[in-house]
């Protein structure tokens, strides 16, 4: 809904706001740099991929992860704001899980980073609770007819992570190689994990 002229105007406004808040002493631009750098460079879906790959190779870890997501994720060193109470929901041949926040855009930052634009936008937030199969189909995921679709609407501070099914053909892969099959979208539940040899990024 914005065009280039809007973007230039909003850029100018944000620049003026930061200058004012800096002059007032409310913030220091270096603090802003540090926060941005953390979420742009250090926190992202590679963290979640480590959790999933570990669960695929280690049945004990998988059990702990499903019982107490927060503690099991902390074992790998991840936690903090927007991930203080984590619940991991497992996809199976009978149940497919998908996560949304219809009221705002709650998302498990420590394991997935900041959410993509579509996750925060009205089409996904309005529709995935009402017609999850249609939304998933549009996003490229066709589910078998009898499968139960379970939509988790993140309306409290609980944050949900989907444990995707381990793809067929991945039996011989190392934990490190498995991580590369785990996409952000698979951990939100709008895609499957990649299969070994898949060219695209899913």
């Amino acid at each position: 809904m914005s065009d280039a002229r809007d973007d230039a105007a909003i850029a100018l406004r944000v620049e003026a706001l930061e200058a004012l808040l800096t002059e007032k002493g409310l913030l220091d631009p270096a603090q802003v740099d540090a926060v941005v750098r953390r979420y742009e460079e250090e926190v992202g879906p590679l963290n979640g991929a480590r959790v999933v790959a570990r669960a695929w190779v280690d049945p004990d870890y998988r059990r702990r992860l499903l019982e107490d997501g927060t503690a099991a994720i902390a074992e790998l060193g991840f936690g903090g704001p927007q991930g203080e109470y984590m619940v991991v929901v497992e996809n199976t041949p009978e149940v497919h899980n998908v996560v949304v926040c219809t009221l705002c855009s709650c998302y498990p930052w420590p394991v997935l980073g900041l959410p993509p634009t579509w996750y925060k936008s009205p089409p996904y937030r309005s529709r995935v609770v009402r017609e999850p199969r249609a939304v998933l189909r549009e996003m490229g995921l066709e589910l078998a007819p009898g499968l139960e679709v379970r939509v988790w609407d993140s309306s409290s501070e609980v944050r949900y992570l989907v444990l995707p099914e381990r793809p067929p053909g991945s039996e011989g892969l190392s934990e490190e190689a498995l991580r590369a099959l785990v996409t952000r979208d698979a951990m939100i539940g709008v895609a499957r994990a990649k299969s070994p040899g898949d060219a695209g990024d899913g």
Binding site: E15, L21, M139, V158
Partner: protein
Amino acid sequence: MNGIHDLGGMHGFGRVDAERDEPVFHARWERRTFGMRLIAGQRLGGNIDEGRHWIERLDPIRYLAHGYYGRWLASLEDRLTGAGVLHAGELDGRVAGAKRPAAPLPALPAPRPPAPHGFVRALERPPVFGVGDRVRTTNHQPAGHTRLPAYARTRRGVVARVYPACIYPDVHAHGGGEDPQYVYAVRFACRELFGPTADSTAFVHLDCFEPYLEADDDA
């Protein structure tokens, strides 16, 4: 509040437009807005429920106009103005090129002492409901902040999970303290929520604070 933010189940927003290889931020202003809002939020002493309610109170045009970080920016401006950090017209003047020096900061609240957990709290009483209990949501539609979406009011479901007591947003967003309440993941059939043409194999699991629920005695 019955606001534009409460999007679940609405029609008319079109297809999901997923960008391939999307960057974390699309423009410098999004980066700076993200960082500023987190830092300013800490300095102003507000809690996350108040922060969400600032966004909900944006009028629908401002809510939708510039996406997620547009909402962050608009609500940050409102919040800074509400706290007396930004004076009326100060930002507009600066945008227009005024050279007037920034107004000094008002007294800000002292930093809050760290809590044992961000939002989980111990309650002496046990939860009212258990896994498998049939429940119905109340017709809860306060003018203020709530985490019960409109699509799930007065609907029947089954308790799927019982979570610890957590700070109650409906009170916490309005200066009423923490008032911890148990939280339940309640399972609703999409047909219960969206009518008989909805997918019979689809379910929504929604986190509900205990005051949103009553026993479904008719079940």
